[in-house]
């Protein structure tokens, strides 16, 4: 039975291979942190100095003493939270409607929503850009939030979850004289908390890391989200104040989401895998 016990333990060979792979994973991150902790002048002479002391926090100080990075962070936060709350509200309502209510055209409408799952962003982004220009929505929070609310995945996801709740609950509540609305709000919605958490984490992360749409919609630097701001920083690298400062921005931008990841690792991994395997 040696083979069986083996399957539950990491062999030395596997451990060596994994450690090597982990090094490849971590080395670029450590290099980024090392560069961010060096003075720009020293890096200008030779970036090889990043391997050794002296290290300094001057680049982080420069970020904290008023740079645009803060307003980008705030924009990202507003857009991601707005998108997440909007998606949760819209998709809970619609998911319930499709799962529980009978009305003419329900099947056809649900198929229409499902078809949207196959539409990549590239197929709609140009006309959407024109539409938002016509409506004067570029460089605004609604302009950045609204496209995220039209994604069909959440409706499909919530409808599936509502279908899994026993119908006896509805019947009991309706017998007690509850209205459709009370039934939804007081009885069923609290039961969908796990699905809300998964959909919420997934939506927040997708919105936080979105690049294509904010790149073309938010063209004024005070409306940049963090992703677009960092893109402009690296494209204007030649004119900015140095490599160390640039890398400090990368670390500063990565930290919030890495902290969230460290805290909610189980939920994030579950949400992303669940969304992919739909």
């Amino acid at each position: 039975m040696k083979g069986l016990a083996d399957r539950h333990r990491l062999t030395p060979l596997a451990l060596a291979g994994l450690s090597l792979a982990a090094l490849v994973m971590v080395a670029p991150l450590l290099w980024t942190v090392a560069l961010s902790l060096k003075s720009n002048a020293e890096l200008m002479r030779d970036s090889g100095t990043a391997f050794s002391a002296p290290y300094t926090l001057e680049n982080y100080r420069a970020i904290l003493q008023g740079s645009q990075v803060f307003s980008w962070l705030l924009n990202s936060l507003i857009v991601s939270l707005g998108t997440t709350l909007g998606v949760l509200a819209l998709c809970s309502l619609a998911g319930y409607g499709f799962a529980r209510l009978e009305f003419p055209g329900r099947r056809a409408l649900f198929v229409l929503v499902l078809l949207g799952l196959a539409v990549p962003e590239q197929a709609v982004i140009l006309p959407r850009h024109q539409l938002f220009a016509d409506l004067g929505l570029h460089n605004s929070y609604p302009g950045l939030i609204l496209p995220g609310l039209a994604a069909p995945f959440g409706v499909f996801f919530m409808a599936q979850y509502f279908r899994g709740i026993p119908r006896e609950l509805d019947e009991a509540a309706l017998l007690d004289g509850a209205s459709r609305w009370t039934l939804f709000w007081k009885v069923l919605l609290p039961l969908t908390w796990p699905a809300q958490a998964t959909l919420g984490v997934f939506t927040f992360l997708a919105s936080w890391n979105d690049y294509w749409w904010p790149l073309i919609s938010a063209t004024r630097s005070d409306r940049f989200t963090l992703t677009v701001g960092l893109a402009s920083s690296q494209m204007n690298y030649a004119q900015t104040s140095g490599l160390g400062y640039l890398m400090a921005q990368a670390v500063f931008a990565a930290l919030p989401i890495l902290i969230v990841y460290a805290l909610f690792q189980k939920q994030i991994v579950g949400a992303m895998a669940g969304a992919a395997a739909r």
């Binding site: 391997f51 819209l90 009978e102 003419p104 590239q122 294509w212 640039l246 991994v269």
Partner: protein
């Protein structure tokens, strides 16, 4: 419509109405408008002139589009098999209880939560010859640093490597979830039959993971056909268009040359390609092939 139908519709409207309104306005309408746009010559100020199939005819003979399409296939062919193999191997090695495996899993997934602009910042300063980590290593070995991002035959490969590094988390987790679904007693039976590791993998593990493999390949192919930010920020599609994928070509056509009709035609072609991949692999995933 009878009274009952009308009443049930009124009852459902507050629930499905808000979403449907946004969905039709911001997804269905743009989808149709995008198709219409592709048959027009259009400028960013809303001017449109019907052009029939002109944009599509131009597409067929545009060498820049041909190059971008070829590059996009190269990205898919470079990234998908390597990524699938690496993540399957990682999942097999890490499908174990215990702290060590859990730490490794968390580490390999961590790059997936970062945005594309952070990834490109990190990788630019791994790859550039003047301040990159690899250049430092090369110099330490007494050799000339390689300009990975500006050499025609290396730029696309460099973007592909950064993409693999970024994308490793999700497929690994999907494979791990797939492995958890295989009942333990099959492995016990195999061990009793003295099947070695390779036989067990080939005869039990791999066939049981068939659906997951199809899922991973499908998701990754669709993702790589849409590769955009990495190429835009690491190489700007260069040198000489050697690493420009189709989506970057769409972006440049629409937002630097402002040819919205032509850009829309390219987007339609890409949409059909992605749809074809999805359908093809959906069929592969549902049909059962007996060994």
């Amino acid at each position: 419509m009878n009274a009952l139908g009308r009443r049930s519709l009124l009852q459902a409207a507050p629930f499905i109405g808000p979403f449907l309104l946004l969905y039709v306005g911001l997804l269905i309408y743009p989808l149709i408008d995008g198709l219409a746009l592709s048959f027009h010559r259009a400028d960013p100020f809303g001017g449109r002139a019907f052009a029939g199939l002109e944009n599509y005819a131009r597409l067929a003979s545009d060498p820049v589009f041909g190059q971008a399409l070829g590059n996009t296939f190269k990205y898919a062919v470079l990234v998908v098999p390597v990524l699938t193999a690496i993540t399957l191997a990682l999942a097999l090695a890490l499908n174990k209880p215990g702290r060590t495996a859990s730490v490794f899993r968390g580490l390999f997934f961590s790059s997936s939560v970062l945005s594309v602009t952070i990834i490109t910042l990190i990788w630019r300063f791994v790859l550039t010859p003047d301040a990159g980590l690899l250049a430092e290593a090369w110099e330490a070995g007494g050799r000339e640093p390689v300009p990975f991002l500006s050499q025609p035959d290396l730029a696309l490969l460099a973007v592909a490597v950064a993409t693999i590094w970024w994308s490793i988390g999700l497929p690994m987790m999907l494979f791990l979830a797939g492995l958890q679904q295989i009942p333990e007693d099959i492995f016990e039976a195999a061990a009793l039959d003295r099947a070695n590791r390779w036989t067990t993998f080939r005869r039990i593990t791999l066939p049981s993971l068939r659906r997951t493999v199809v899922l991973v390949v499908m998701l990754q192919t669709a993702a790589q056909l849409q590769l955009f930010g990495q190429a835009q920020l690491l190489t700007a599609g260069g040198p000489g268009g050697a690493s420009r994928p189709v989506v970057l070509f769409i972006y440049e056509t629409a937002f630097t040359r402002w040819e919205l009709g032509y850009a829309s035609a390219i987007a339609q072609v890409l949409f059909v390609l992605i749809l074809a991949v999805t359908l093809l692999q959906f069929r592969a995933g549902t049909s059962r092939r007996e060994p």
